[in-house]
């Protein structure tokens, strides 16, 4: 399944300052018995949004209804650590996020996010600190330019793995790219 192309996103931020937000927080393991990838937004950050007896928490940073116009999640360092569950980006996307910004995003989560059109944006510490202090700020993330700007003048650039960037911008299909090298794979197998 190809993600929607990602070129430029204009939205607002939702800020959670905690470090080390792991994929068990993003989607608790008890929701992983699904055999599809749809509808996981209802369970995104479930235990942050609901009490132990499934009542909405008043103080949750995450609205019950979804991300709304706050499509950019700004989080503390080492976001997405832990389990490799791709359900994490599936849940965040379905909840309404299109990008995650942190100073430092865990490797497997980053890779999984890029494959699904959830843009992981790693920024320098100064930009990160400024964004953590501006919940709800209007932000533009431009993947073509690899820049991030806010309405109040924060400007930063970021790096995205070039192939993943091309896949997102141009709709290149990664599996198709590997399949196109079938002859090389066959030759490798023959030599092994």
């Amino acid at each position: 399944m190809q993600p929607d192309p990602f070129k430029r996103l204009e939205a607002r931020t939702l800020v959670v300052r905690q470090s080390n937000i792991d994929t068990d927080q993003i989607i608790p393991a008890r929701f992983l018995t699904t055999t599809t990838r749809e509808g996981l937004g209802a369970n995104a950050f479930y235990d942050w949004r609901y009490t132990a007896d499934d009542q909405p928490k008043n103080a949750s940073p995450f609205p019950v209804a979804g991300a709304g116009d706050r499509q950019v999640l700004v989080a503390g360092p080492n976001f997405g650590c832990g389990s490799s569950r791709e359900h994490a980006p599936w849940a965040l996307l379905d909840y309404g996020f299109r990008a995650v910004v942190s100073s430092d995003i865990a490797d497997i989560f980053k890779s999984n996010s890029l494959k699904n059109g959830l843009l992981p944006v790693e920024v320098d510490a100064e930009t990160h600190a400024a964004l953590l202090d501006r919940p709800g700020v209007a932000i533009a993330i431009d993947l073509e330019e690899c820049t991030l700007t806010t309405e109040d003048g924060i400007e930063a650039s970021f790096a995205v793995e070039p192939f993943a960037r091309r896949c997102l911008l141009d709709g290149v299909d990664p599996l198709g790219h590997i399949l196109a090298h079938d002859a090389q794979i066959t030759a490798y197998e023959a030599a092994a």
């Binding site: 080390n20 068990d24 055999t35 650590c81 389990s83 490799s84 490797d107 890779s111 990664p174």
Partner: protein
């Protein structure tokens, strides 16, 4: 040019080299599959009309969603939910359709994916190994290049036997000196993560080296490599040596006869060249490591079990301390324990169970403490029962269960209750990981067993014979 173990494995598996435009295409020698992260990958194959390219290099097992209690009087397994049962049947159907060998529920070799690979002899030095599971780093203990992947990549490997990868940076973590008596691989892992941080290994393939690593059994090496991901490193690996070869020789899927000799000759070439260079070098003082526990909600919040809870240094740590209810500057030993879990791909192997049994032998689990012992595989369960370990556990008042991931991920119904303090030999102390509101303390098997007996956080050394302490 001098190459590291990692360089050699990388080079040997490049089908298409990486360029500025695209990552390398790497060939995968072994793809391990389980029920939780594979259904959506098989669905992509269906959608696109693709076949599994190499079922012969694919091994499936059932572990995450499976009950650890036997079938009831009605003959039905006590699945946590209908969805869990459906997920198990989905993998059975997918494997049958695509000709993939599955260790089914009645297979005498079934177990946790990172336990059965080594046990069957599938995990070997020099192989590339992937699985839709972050603890795939475990297999690096054999000198394999093993890493966790997401479900999209599971689909890529099913269809092409390859993954896209950029070559990560390299790090060597050298444990200098020998371990003290009574200190094990789990303590090394927790001490290492505390030293470099939960993201200290991010972007790196890590090689563990040094005297204390070489002295570890294969079980201990697996425990250490298993936890590499808790330091943020997808890859943890250890050079293969005589210990590795002795473990593998004669196993079902290991090379046999002349093939074995040829394989060992190849494997001897794999260790890092003496002058190989690494992007980052870290040393850990192995002799200084003590039995460790975690006190926070990230695996790097680890300290010696005999110590006091530290003062939180920032907001995240303050929140963690509040959740865990460890009072700053008070001994950990003051914390009452509600539940103990001994199991998981980190610490469910025979040596782990022996270590726990040594502490529990002839003693009783403290009143009010529930202790769950879950072997990593059917093979381990049978070996443990043949040695009478199950009787030691049940005589002590602990529960002896069927193999699976169980309370490590708590998606099969095995879990703690809100607010409970659980001492666990698993790998993650995240908020709610072992059940909503559960407070998880990570520890090695001896420490976990000691906590079960004491009813509070406890130093295992008081329960170990001198002989065991010296041998550990």
């Amino acid at each position: 040019m001098a190459r590291s173990l990692f360089d050699k494995l990388w080079d040997a598996h490049v089908v298409v080299p990486e360029s500025e435009d695209a990552p390398a295409i790497l060939f995968i020698d072994l793809h391990l599959v389980h029920e939780v992260t594979s259904p959506q990958a098989f669905a992509v194959l269906e959608e696109r009309g693709l076949k599994v390219r190499r079922p012969d290099l694919t091994q499936a097992t059932l572990d995450h969603s499976t009950p650890t209690l036997p079938a009831g009087a009605d003959g039905r397994l006590p699945y946590a939910t209908e969805a869990a049962e459906k997920q198990v049947h989905q993998l059975e159907a997918n494997c049958a359709k695509h000709g993939i060998d599955l260790l089914g529920l009645d297979d005498a070799r079934r177990g946790i994916v990172h336990v059965i690979g080594p046990e069957m002899g599938l995990t070997q030095p020099g192989k590339t190994i992937v699985c839709g599971d972050s603890h795939t780093s475990t297999h690096g203990a054999f000198g394999a290049l093993a890493f966790g992947i997401g479900t999209t990549e599971v689909g890529h490997v099913l269809a092409t036997q390859c993954v896209h990868q950029r070559k990560p940076k390299s790090m060597r973590i050298t444990f200098e000196g020998a371990l003290s008596p009574g200190v094990g691989a789990k303590d090394m892992a927790l001490a290492m993560i505390a030293q470099i941080g939960a993201d200290g290994g991010q972007g790196y393939a890590v090689e563990f080296a040094g005297e204390a690593v070489e002295a570890l059994s294969m079980e201990g090496r697996m425990t250490l490599c298993n936890m590499a991901i808790e330091a943020g490193a997808r890859v943890g690996m250890i050079a293969p040596d005589e210990t590795t070869f002795a473990y593998l020789e004669g196993r079902e899927r290991a090379p046999q006869g002349e093939d074995w000799d040829a394989a060992v000759a190849r494997w001897r070439e794999l260790p890092s060249d003496p002058d190989a260079s690494f992007d980052t070098e870290v040393t850990v003082d192995a002799a200084a490591i003590r039995p460790m526990i975690t006190y926070g909600v990230s695996p790097d919040a680890a300290a010696p079990v005999t110590g006091n809870a530290p003062q939180p240094a920032n907001d995240s740590e303050r929140e963690a301390a509040e959740y865990m209810r460890f009072a700053a500057d008070r001994p950990f030993a003051e914390a009452k324990v509600d539940r103990v879990f001994i199991g998981s791909c980190t610490n469910s192997r025979l040596s782990d169970l022996r270590e726990a049994a040594e502490v529990m032998r002839g003693r009783q689990v403290a009143d009010g403490v529930v202790a769950l012992i879950v072997p990593g595989s059917e093979v381990i369960r049978q070996q443990a029962e043949a040695e009478g370990l199950d009787a030691i556990f049940t005589d002590a008042g602990a529960e002896w269960r069927l193999p699976g991931c169980s309370m490590c991920i708590a998606m099969n119904g095995d879990q703690g209750a809100p607010g409970e303090l659980v001492v666990s030999t698993s790998n993650r102390n995240f908020v709610g990981r072992q059940g909503k509101g559960v407070r998880t303390v990570l520890a090695g098997p001896a420490t976990a067993a000691a906590c079960a007996i004491a009813g509070h956080i406890a130093d295992p050394s008081q329960y170990m014979s001198t002989e065991t302490r010296d041998a550990a």
